[in-house]
């Protein structure tokens, strides 16, 4: 490729990057504008005097602090549960040959074809009859058994040599110990990717909490925002501030773990 076409590619890349970033940036900038400036016509690009007024107002006026706490609670616990049960299943499917191994594996993958959206009604009834309706546990437990997670862990653990397990067995370690103390540390790369993904899925999730949660005090941040938008007159100052706050954890996680993201997507997308 010659130099000029390379420069052209770089230029168009940068322009495209702006298309992807400017909308987000515009929301962030708007959130730091004061009450009237936000609706100023012509709009200002940078806030005239950037301040946290919208943030303070939003957190004071409504329960958004609580909604954030709920989201953190749900995302953290659900991610922990995902890590434990997905890696247990992935480990068994990768390292044991047993009757039903393939059947279970393919059934897991097949459940990807039954998204929550097509079982809304029965899920609601099941959750309700188990006493999980309007309980944060109803948001934590059901989505924790991710097929993608089982798949990723299985594919990774297949590559770990059997000898490692065998020698631990010779040393008299229990099966649980082998899994927990020998295999889990070896699977750290895939577990890191799964942690990040799971946290993101749960943090960004709308439908599960929307179906399971009925009272405001248990709203997660996504449900709270959606509910806030639905109101007759939208308080844009608060809404933008809260939306930016809801973005922050994801942006931080992304900045720190970018590589894991890219690797994880490539793995889960290609092999499935």
């Amino acid at each position: 490729m010659n130099k000029w076409s390379k420069r052209l590619a770089e230029l168009s890349g940068l322009l495209l990057a702006l298309v992807f970033v400017i909308p987000v940036l515009w929301v962030v900038l708007s959130s730091f504008k004061s009450g009237y400036e936000i609706f100023a016509w012509p709009p200002t690009f940078l806030p005239e005097n950037p301040n946290l007024g919208n943030y303070v107002q939003a957190l004071k006026k409504s329960n958004f602090g609580l909604y954030f706490a709920n989201s953190f609670y749900v995302s953290t616990l659900s991610t922990m549960l995902t890590l434990v049960i997905n890696s247990m299943a992935g480990y068994a499917l990768a390292k044991f040959s047993f009757r039903g191994n393939r059947l279970i594996f393919f059934s897991f993958i097949a459940t990807l074809m039954i998204p929550l959206q097509v079982i809304l009604v029965p899920i609601f009834l099941v959750v309700k009859s188990l006493g999980l309706y309007n309980s944060l546990w109803g948001v934590i437990i059901p989505p924790a058994a991710t097929p993608t997670g089982v798949f990723l862990v299985r594919q990774y653990m297949i590559t770990i040599p059997d000898e490692i397990m065998e020698s631990a067995r010779m040393d008299g370690a229990s099966e649980w110990k082998i899994f927990w103390i020998v295999m889990m540390p070896l699977a750290k790369p895939v577990l890191t990717a799964l942690t990040i993904f799971s946290f993101m899925w749960r943090w960004n999730d709308f439908l599960w909490p929307f179906i399971v949660i009925g009272t405001q005090r248990k709203y997660t941040i996504q449900v709270a925002i959606a509910n806030f938008v639905g109101q007759f007159s939208v308080d844009w100052n608060s809404l933008l501030a809260i939306s930016v706050l809801a973005m922050v954890p994801m942006l931080i996680v992304f900045l720190i773990f970018q590589r894991h993201f890219m690797k994880g997507i490539a793995l889960s997308g290609l092999k499935m």
Binding site: V27, P122, E175, V229, G230, I265
Partner: protein, 291 residues
Amino acid sequence: MSDRKRLLTPYLFVLPNVLIFLIFVVFPAIYGLVLSFTKWDVISDPVFVGLKNYISIFSSESFWDTTRKTFIYVFAVVPWTFVTSLALALLLDMKIRLRSVMRALFYIPSMLSAVVIGVSWRWILGDNFGVINYLLERAGFKSVGWLTTPSWAMFVVILVRVWARAGYYMVIFLAGLQSISSVYYEAARIDGASVWQQFWQITLPLLKPTSLVVVVLTGIEAFKVFDLIVVMTTGGPGKATTFLVQDIYRWAFERGDLGYASAMSVVLLLILGLLTAVQFGIAERGGNAYE
């Protein structure tokens, strides 16, 4: 350790995951199928009505209208996302400067929740406070009711979807591109193939498995769309952007007709399964043409 115990070990390890699947996926799926043959308003007991729900669904004009709109949405989102994410991936696959920064920036919208994205675009596209309409007026055009005119609303929910997901599929395409051996390109260059020819003759055919994954995933994702629409348009104006999942939600939770909503869910599931099968079928047959 006894052999018996050893045999049991793997089952115990898969048990928690299997249990959750059985309770929250498999059982509800069957339960939903059963409910679809009943009339149930939650208050009284469900009554078996045979195929009545299905008959009224298929003879309902509003169902066909919603289905038609859903298909329009899906058949716009899939190719747009495909082309956009492939273009981004091809761009990054050239060894240009700042590519890792660009990759991160392209990916940012994929990190954000549908709810936050919906709010952001509502803010940007607002009729009389949105920055886009301001820019249009500045440039001498009339402002547009992006979310209040039916056809524009459809256009916008499609566009925002593509914007939100392109970065994710770009990463999948990038991995696919990087797995193509450079030997092919070198050989093609020696034979004097143009960049354009290389793309059509080498890149695209060898990218077929990846392309299939992207088409299937974007298709399923688009069919399931719910949250983005709830926040951006709540299905409006009128019913201009009401798609199947939203209609199911309304029948179940607003009108309380659980049987009818379940039957609609089964229809949606069948559509999803059928389309996936068709896509894989096409890919299989197309595969022979290349080889």
